[in-house]
Symmetry: C2
Subunit: 272 residues, 2 copies
Amino acid sequence: MNADDARHPFDRAIALEPQDHERWLGHTSPAYANMVGPYGGISAAQALQVVMQHPQRLGEPTALTVNFCAALADGPFTAIARPLRTNRSTQHWLVELQQQGETQLSATVFTALRRDTWGSDELRKPAVPAPAQCPQAPARGVAWLERYEMRFVEGSLPTEWDGEDHGSSLTRLWLRDAPPRPLDHASLTALSDAFFPRIWRRRAMRVPIGTVTMTVYFHADAAQLHRVGSGYLLGQAQAQGYRRGYFDQSAQLWSEAGDLLATSHQLVYYKE
Amino acid sequence: MNADDARHPFDRAIALEPQDHERWLGHTSPAYANMVGPYGGISAAQALQVVMQHPQRLGEPTALTVNFCAALADGPFTAIARPLRTNRSTQHWLVELQQQGETQLSATVFTALRRDTWGSDELRKPAVPAPAQCPQAPARGVAWLERYEMRFVEGSLPTEWDGEDHGSSLTRLWLRDAPPRPLDHASLTALSDAFFPRIWRRRAMRVPIGTVTMTVYFHADAAQLHRVGSGYLLGQAQAQGYRRGYFDQSAQLWSEAGDLLATSHQLVYYKE
């Protein structure tokens, strides 16, 4: 990586260098660093990117599940992608990101040639104020947060960590890449993980957390994402249950025009 | 399988016979047959069972993602399970069900030693009439449907396939194994797939469908499932978006006492 590199930080972060027919070399990205190790959303995007750039890929990414097996150390990793099954119009992939021969992340990716059908967004975009009417969240000294413009509509990070049970963990916010970048499936994957952990909102307590597994269903194809361009997305996230060290959170991402682009779910470890 | 086998049909269906240290022999189950091939929920339970009975398993199943790569043919299959990563108190598994050397189903399973923490069910069990007040759905000539007692609260299968857009795909029902069987993670996995495809409800049109991938997050551990025993579960399912051949549906399963036992999501192929 050199200072003259004119690419968007996201494109630099997901870049891969071929090693052989099923192995690529990638690097964790300082631009998307979290407090310890990389932002999970960028690791998920890197896992998807292995399939996106694979010469054998058939169709568009339609579902992705990424498992955070162990913390990626800052530095290089080996990405391995293998089609487990190729059908006439669909394909199932297995991806692993390895360091020192150990699996740090695994992912399964489903790609498909998509066809026109009846369609509907049953979960409608909630009525919220426009992005310009929502104040931009200040930077918070964490690299990856600087890579996203976030404008909270409701349910922002608690301003007081007083341990009061808020009852609900619902958050709604406008968000997009910073600087803006035309949306694609890789960046949509990363955006699906941009919701701070629901338990922080619910409990107003900053307990240690870590995402264990995340699934993204892509409702939008590449043409639709292209039409969204670098516009704002409305994101919504809420937990369903917290029990014995793990909670789940569900998320939805709509375009500003109101189209449901992706739905996502993750299971998160928490302490205390 | 012989007629004198006193085991519950579910236990017979998920039985596996060891081949070597990472391979087992299983069979599709006529008792859980769908219109074509096996019921997806039983295949998912079989995939989980490979890990459940694996001598190297650490902790309890906490998340499962199963990918239906191709239709399982009626008959035997080879199940392969491999721990991709073993940490101090968590483990990540890869499972494949193969026939004729081809992967028909892949799954990733996350197991964990769970500890007491603060907990809460943010998504509360809706107030509904008791099971005895809801009429039992009649058998419908499909084997796997005979394996479940279903008592619909709302959103049952349309009685008229008239193509009218119902606007919502929400279904709520009481359900349990038939005959009753003490709940465990394998049967809870199968129950997570027992919701008929949301698009049939939404459109009152029986379009061809097939689940592509399903994720289950287990909020309950074995001790909690043991307490539920063979009681009824309240299930709820609804679609979020339908677009270009694929829709997703989210589901929740509570105990009759009101504890959230599992949340689940799946992506489903549809035609037309």
